[in-house]
Amino acid sequence: MKLYSVVLFIFCITVTVSGNAQRIDILLKGGHVIDPCNKIDKVMDVAITAGKISGVAPSIPGDSAKKIVNVSGMYVTPGIIDMHVHVFHGTDAGSYLANGFHGLPADGFTFRAGVTTVVDAGSSGWKNFRSFKAQTIDRAKTRVLAFLNIVGIGMYGRLEEQDVSDMNPEMTAYMIRHEFPDIIVGIKSAHYWGDFTQVDRAVKAGELGGVPVMVDFGEHHPPNSIEELFMKHMRPGDIFTHTYANGFEDRETVVDKDGKVKPFVFAAQKRGIVFDVGHGGGAFSWIQAVPAMQQKFWPTTISSDLHTESMNGGMKDMTNVMSKFLAMGMPLQDVILRCTWNPATVINRKQLGNLSIGSEADVAVFSLREGDFGFLDVTGAKVKGKQKLEAELTIRAGKVVWDLNGIGAADYVPNTKR
């Protein structure tokens, strides 16, 4: 601690002495900062220098700033992390989400919703991750991380996802440990029609790779027990996604037919199972979410499950999904926590999802609109709300990548005729 203070002191002197060399690039003035990691929830200025957060304080002088953006009346948060998306877009007409038409190029959906980091949820496996990286990850302005599917060819199609011989924990873990530790944050298990074999192999890969496993546990006829899944197969820190999917015949739900959250679900949460929203095109029903919220079974992370079938439906984008939780009575601070610091912690990327000095400057600025809004679930049921988040300004690595109303730009001055 003492050493830290000395370093900080020297740093401060350096900053003061170097003057112009350390000019602030962007100064966000007067916004209400919500940074759950650093327990900040009040009006603060945020300074960005050389792509990094260089100051968060009640009043930072603007005279040395190259650009000052007045964000008073708005909320300033760490760039949003969407922990469940499908962005392995490609042109293989035979494929579902691996290099197929149903995945989406990330940048068209992220920045305009305040999102700066997405985590692809197992669209690729160890066999096609390299083409995912070359095609999508390396070209996106959005930071794209990934859960690697336990199936070697990822989410190519439902049939291929049943092939147990293509679920190789060793190869999957090798990709994480030795090839792409910076990008791959976990393993995905999904769409399996059989018993617990796929989950067990994914957990094995998770153990070998030292990463969490995200489980989409549906499509069993009749449904497999989620109590058994939570208590016997998943580890603390592993992620259960599509938490508020309303089961048909093939998916056990967290809320029972009488509207009660099943007791073992609370026990699982205590055990450290992470509950992720993963809204998607079929996995978020008010009939599950509303009673769960009322009974204080809240998700650990709020995510979109972005793909072509969710983008124009009830999901839309992260600001819409976040606003749904506001409509259900979750305070804004809790909503922000669940799509910044919580996902960063879950995927072991503690350098993300916060505005700590020195961290990469991924910042979201929101307006909180007041009015009469409606929010659809995947069944066409609607819940009304009085508030809605709107992404005003998004900054990725210190650069403005979205500016809805030009608050970071200069007013147009008509040319007086010469």
Binding site: T91, G108, M311, N312, G314, G374, F375, A381, A409, K417
Partner: protein, 432 residues
């Protein structure tokens, strides 16, 4: 009608007691049918909206009913008992589905190119949420790779995707092949246009760096052979604006009309005056499309041009990877921007619907005439303080902003921002 047949077959199949019952049912049915205008029920009814349909000179409170994917009726009041689904759109604006005549949507896996590449975007990602139901791809494909474009994008999109065909055989490859005059074949281009009359609406010239006029002439030739308009992009640095406009025929379309970059002379001169040859071209019937894009729209050109009578004829967005998150954003933003510059809502809607449809010779689109396809946009006018940015990063402030509430494509709801088509969650069922 099916119901009537069922009742008769009931009579044939069952005993007399049942027959009496059936006859009673039939009588009730006939009464029902009569009051219902021969049993016609609509699939969808949008009630109490402010309907703006410039083609049909409608701007007022009107209901609109949809049946079998078509506009079935537009009237001051359509009884609600005639429709299966009713959506109350009180306070909202109802228009024909918007048409964006300048996009790049031949998305694919190739890096650094528009044709089958990463620089194009998927139409459905951006259109429906902005009230757009039809886009026209601006020559991203040429006659050689149009089939790939059709298979990968056009046939797979919910948005109606039409196209201008590039005079360059492989479209916007960005590689030297795009400059190859030998691969600019008027005959082959016109042939592919004529073979795909439902999709291809014209021919495009753009991205040619040489001084030889052959590419331009061949593009006009291909357009003439296929009886379609020519769409002129920029990036033709050695052709003067004046010469380009002079070669263009009435009905041909020039885009990026308000750009201010080196490759083309702006439409206004150094004194801010609209150039006389531009006015001449406009009078002759050359159409000026917006083509906003990442670099194609500057207030310092567009504002004086509009004051002097040159507003864009259509609102092509030039949607692609570099414009989507910049000053352009989407069609709603472009229309709002022009309203902030002083254009009326009615004029903005006209440019995004009927003007665009006429420009591409698709008079079946961009209007709500009964019998035409039910592509409908419903949007809200937000009041507040908004800002609109041009390619130079300059902002104009406005107090209104359009927001797409509901989009109907081919009679189906494909976008519903606030769930106005949804059913309220029953609190009892939620807690049960």
């Amino acid at each position: 009608m099916n119901k009537t047949r069922d009742v008769f077959s009931d009579i044939y199949r069952s005993g007399w007691r049942k027959s009496v019952q059936s006859i009673l049912q039939l009588c009730i049915g006939v009464v029902f049918i009569t009051t219902n205008g021969w049993g016609q029920t609509y699939d969808l009814l949008l009630r109490n909206g402010q309907l703006i349909d410039p083609k049909n000179s409608i701007n007022g409170k009107m209901d609109i009913a949809v049946l079998d994917g078509k506009v079935a009726k537009v009237a001051a009041s359509i009884p609600s008992n005639q429709a299966k689904k009713i959506i109350d759109v009180t306070g909202l604006i109802v228009t024909p589905g918007l048409i964006d005549i300048h996009t790049h949507v031949f998305v694919g896996g190739k890096p650094e190119t528009f044709a089958d590449g990463f620089l194009s975007v998927s139409p459905d990602d951006f259109t429906l949420k902005s009230g757009v139901t039809t886009v026209v791809d601006a020559g991203t494909s040429g006659w050689r790779n149009f089939p790939v474009f059709k298979e990968h994008v056009i046939d797979k999109s919910r948005t109606r995707v039409l196209a201008f065909l590039n005079i360059a055989g492989n479209g916007m490859t960005g590689s030297p092949t795009e400059q190859d005059v030998n691969d600019m074949d008027a005959y082959m281009t016109s042939l592919v246009v004529k073979k795909n009359p439902e999709i291809i609406v014209g021919v495009k010239i753009g991205h040619y760096e040489g001084a030889d006029w052959a590419p331009f002439d061949r593009a006009i030739d291909a357009a003439a052979k296929s009886n379609t308009p020519l769409f002129v992009e920029c990036h033709l640095p050695q052709f003067s604006l004046e010469d380009q406009l002079k070669k263009m025929r009435p009905g041909d379309i020039i885009t990026h009309s308000f750009e201010k970059i080196d490759e083309r002379m702006p439409v206004i001169d150094e004194q801010g005056k609209l150039r006389s040859f531009v006015i001449d071209a406009q009078k002759r019937g050359v159409l000026f499309d917006l083509g906003h894009g990442g670099a194609g729209f500057w207030f310092s050109v567009a504002v004086p041009a509009m004051k002097q009578g040159l507003a864009p004829n259509s609102f092509g967005s030039d949607l692609h990877r570099f414009s989507m998150n910049a000053g352009m954003k989407d069609m709603m933003n472009i229309m709002s921007k022009y309203m902030a510059m002083g254009m009326s809502l009615q004029e903005a809607v006209e440019r995004a619907t009927w003007n665009a449809a006429k420009a591409i010779h698709r008079n079946d689109l961009g209007n709500l005439t009964e019998g035409n396809v039910a592509d409908i946009a419903v949007f809200r006018i937000r009041e507040g303080n908004f800002g609109y940015t041009d390619a130079g990063g300059n902002v104009i402030n406005g107090t209104k902003k359009l927001e797409a509430e509901l989009t109907v494509r081919n009679g189906k709801v494909v976008w519903d921002l606030n769930g106005i088509s949804g059913t309220p969650l029953n609190p009892v069922s939620a807690s049960k």
